[in-house]
């Protein structure tokens, strides 16, 4: 009826004589609901309501752009509205175009600032690099990194990459900073695995960076000076218990990282064209390798939290900020999965006494699980509440939920609840609960099958004045 250019409608809807939405496809329906509408009920998208009203009153077939905000994103839709006919008192709505503007530039800057703040807070080694990636100043905050800082500042003309081993790379020249950002790094004198975070320092005109901040971060805390090799050869009990983190993990990480890096190279066809199947195999190899790396990380963490001398170092933190950071870090993954994370808004705050890094680790685990098991298009809510002496973060999803038997088992070691092949190790929740308890708190779950799950992390509350 309207000619070829209009093409097929993306979605259709209908209103009644009182401008109530009585039929709607997605994504129109979703936007209406997110704008606070009921279905069926008065049209809640203000611009659409106005256009429908206009079509009804004038009796003219309208075509117009409708713009709406639904909290996390802006939507602009092209709608065409058929006025009422003799048979129908309401209008018919056809949506021809639908554009969402997620993550505007402002959000990207917030995310970058958050990442920078996180790197600066957790780094155990920091350096200011010049444009050639040579250290101008360097400082190690952990005992096993003091030597590195000294070596770097002693030879100022050498790029930082000469003082460390970049896993999976045989380049000696420093690569482009974007390729080194996030790279796994080994450091002489330190047993721990590290990774590099490189933050460019923007030039005056927003052009090439005028220098970089280099931060080295490790997931494994410094465990004290290495024990001198005892003549008897018999390892102390504490040391046997830390075997994976100290001995197995470093040996395994390097070859697996190389497997992953090479598989990624093949998968992305960097070295030339390749049949689709082989590229897919390479993707499988890379993801299996990634899984192994995660497993090693989990096993290392497991050792740490199970060791009798494990302590956390509590600090005054803001749970809202940790939650925002966790949701920022998982932003890409959530967009991939089409799941929206509803994190505490800027300005919300809930003081607590806990270790920032450990709370972040627990939240990343909880939100990561929610993203993995909840259906596409659902939401994950992060809520804060204070209950007497405890501050709580609640991560709620719209996944399949857990029955009582599953709830009893879910925090068990290597518990997979019958799942397999999804990259989980069955250690995440076990480790998370140990971390929560080590901080004087608790991690628990409330759920029912089909109702989603609410994981509740409680840690000692902080006083508002001190936060």
């Amino acid at each position: 009826m309207t000619g070829g250019v209009n093409g097929a409608a993306l979605a259709r809807g209908a209103s009644d004589g009182e401008d109530r939405l009585i039929a709607a496809d997605e994504p129109l329906l979703g936007l209406h609901l997110r704008c606070g509408g009921e279905f069926p009920g008065p049209i809640a998208i203000p611009a659409l309501r106005e256009a429908v009203q206009r079509a009804r009153v004038t009796g003219l077939r309208l075509a117009t752009a409708v713009t709406a905000q639904d909290g996390t994103e802006g939507v602009t839709a092209w709608v065409e509205i058929d006025p009422p006919t003799n048979d129908e008192a309401g209008c018919r709505i056809a949506v021809r175009q639908w554009q969402t503007r997620a993550a505007p530039a402002e959000d990207d800057r917030v995310a970058a600032r958050r990442r920078a703040a996180l790197a600066r807070q957790t780094a155990e080694f920091s350096a200011r690099l010049d444009t050639r990636q040579c250290a101008v100043v360097a400082e190690g905050h952990a005992p096993d990194l003091a030597g590195l800082a000294e070596r770097m500042t002693a030879e100022p003309g050498k790029p930082w990459t000469e003082f460390v081993t970049i896993e999976g790379s045989t380049h000696h020249q420093p690569l482009h900073w974007r390729l080194l950002d996030g790279a796994p790094v080994r450091i002489g004198g330190s047993e721990r695995p590290w990774h590099a975070i490189i933050l460019p320092i923007a030039g005056p005109a927003g052009g090439e960076p005028v220098g970089f901040e280099l931060h080295l971060v490790s997931d494994v805390p410094f465990a004290g000076p290495p024990e001198p090799v005892a003549g008897s050869g018999a390892a102390a009990p504490g040391e046997t218990a830390r075997m994976i983190g100290r001995e197995v993990a470093p040996v395994l990480r390097q070859p697996i990282a190389r497997i992953v890096a090479n598989a990624e190279t093949i998968r992305s066809r960097l070295m030339g064209p390749l049949a689709e199947e082989y590229s897919a195999y390479a993707a499988d190899i890379a993801s299996a390798g990634q899984h192994l790396l995660t497993l090693i990380d989990d096993l290392t963490d497991l050792e740490v939290v199970e060791s009798p001398e494990f302590r956390t170092s509590p600090d005054r933190i803001d749970l809202a900020e940790v939650a925002r950071q966790a949701s920022g870090i998982l932003g890409v993954k959530s967009r991939e999965r089409g799941i929206e994370i509803d994190a505490p808004k800027l300005g919300e705050s809930l003081p607590a006494v806990a270790e920032f890094r450990r709370v972040l680790q627990v939240l990343l685990n909880l939100i990561g699980n929610a993203l993995r098991y909840a259906p596409e298009g659902s939401q994950v809510w992060i809520r804060l509440e204070q209950d007497g002496e405890f501050a709580r973060v609640i991560v709620a999803d719209q996944g399949p939920g857990l029955d009582e038997a599953q709830q009893a088992r879910v925090f068990g070691k290597f518990e997979r609840l019958g799942r397999s092949g999804d990259g989980g190790s069955g250690l995440g929740l076990y480790i998370s609960r140990r971390l929560a308890r080590a901080m004087g708190g608790e991690l628990s779950v409330e759920s029912a099958p089909g109702q989603g799950a609410r994981f509740i992390l409680s840690v000692p509350a902080g006083s508002a004045a001190a936060a």
């Binding site: 309207t2 000619g3 070829g4 250019v5 209009n6 093409g7 206009r54 079509a55 004038t58 009796g59 003219l60 077939r61 309208l62 075509a63 117009t64 752009a65 602009t76 092209w78 065409e80 021809r96 175009q97 554009q99």
Partner: protein, 289 residues
């Protein structure tokens, strides 16, 4: 009688405001003789088109009254005036080599994916028809935006009685805003709205699409963006470009295309977006000192 006198009163009140501009058209070409005559011609053509269903006799009997009735509806009048200004600006730019119909952006879209190409082709055809009609001082009701169409149909019913009402019902039933040039341009601007699409570069987009995109981004009616392309409204274009968030460099470039001879107070391109928007809205407080 009261209505008659009210019309005479309005004319008297307008004298002091409008007459100086009409007489010395130099400082306000938007009220120049050519613009006024062309606007009247469009209203006349529009009235003839609306009366098309009433036969020869209906046309003769009602034409003069309908033109007057249409001219008395500010929204409709402003729309027709903007069409005239757009036509004039397009001719002015055409003299400097900017095609009033086929711009570089259209050429790109015609070679793009099927949906975009089909939409671009339809918009292009509508734009070609518009250019042709402007040169002949013609206008048709089917090309009016819905609000102006509504006014026009009310006018038709008011002037031509029962026959007019019947004709209006017929025209109403056949009207489809999605097929108008302005809706097609708006939809095209929306469909190709990515940072790479040079919609706010008049050289690349062409004047028609530039005006549509500028109005969308700056949040004003398209008539206002068209007005800014008229001679004597240079600073308005500058403010709209800033309000639309165009960076100083590209804003200067756009200005150089549309108003190459403009001599503007220098800091216009550096004006903050919200201040430009406040000035346009006539909000002196928000615009600061």
């Amino acid at each position: 009688m009261l209505a008659e006198f009210a019309r005479e009163e309005r004319a008297r009140a307008a004298l002091g405001v409008v007459l100086p501009h009409l007489v010395s058209a130099d400082d306000a070409p938007v009220l120049g003789e050519e613009a006024v005559v062309r606007t009247r011609a469009l209203l006349s053509a529009l009235a003839a088109d609306l009366l098309g269903g009433l036969g020869e006799a209906g046309l003769v009997d009602n034409h003069v009254a309908l033109v007057a009735e249409l001219a008395g509806r500010p929204l409709l009048l402003a729309h027709c005036h903007a069409l005239v200004l757009e036509g004039q600006a397009a001719e002015r730019l055409a003299a400097r080599g900017l095609d009033p119909v086929l711009s570089p952006a259209f050429e790109t879209w015609l070679a793009a994916d099927r949906d975009t190409a089909a939409l671009a082709m339809t918009a292009l055809t509508a734009q070609a028809r518009f250019t042709c009609r402007q040169r002949r001082m013609e206008a048709v009701a089917a090309e009016l935006p819905a609000e102006a169409m509504h006014e026009a149909l009310l006018a038709l019913g008011a002037v031509a009685g029962e026959a007019g009402e019947a004709a209006a019902t017929e025209l109403r039933a056949h009207y489809d805003e999605s097929r108008t040039r302005l809706a097609l341009l708006a939809r095209l601007a929306l469909a190709t709205d990515d940072p790479a699409a040079p919609l706010l570069d008049p050289q690349a987009a062409g004047l028609a699409l530039f005006a549509t995109a500028l109005a969308q981004r700056a949040g004003v009616a398209r008539e206002e963006a068209v007005l800014a392309a008229a001679v004597g409204q240079e600073l308005r274009l500058g403010l709209l470009l800033r309000a639309a968030g165009v960076a100083p460099g590209p804003a200067q470039a756009a200005m150089a295309v549309v108003h190459p001879d403009a001599e503007l107070p220098q800091p216009w391109a550096e004006l903050a977006e919200d201040r430009a928007a406040a000035l346009l809205a006539g909000d002196d407080e928000g615009a600061g000192a």
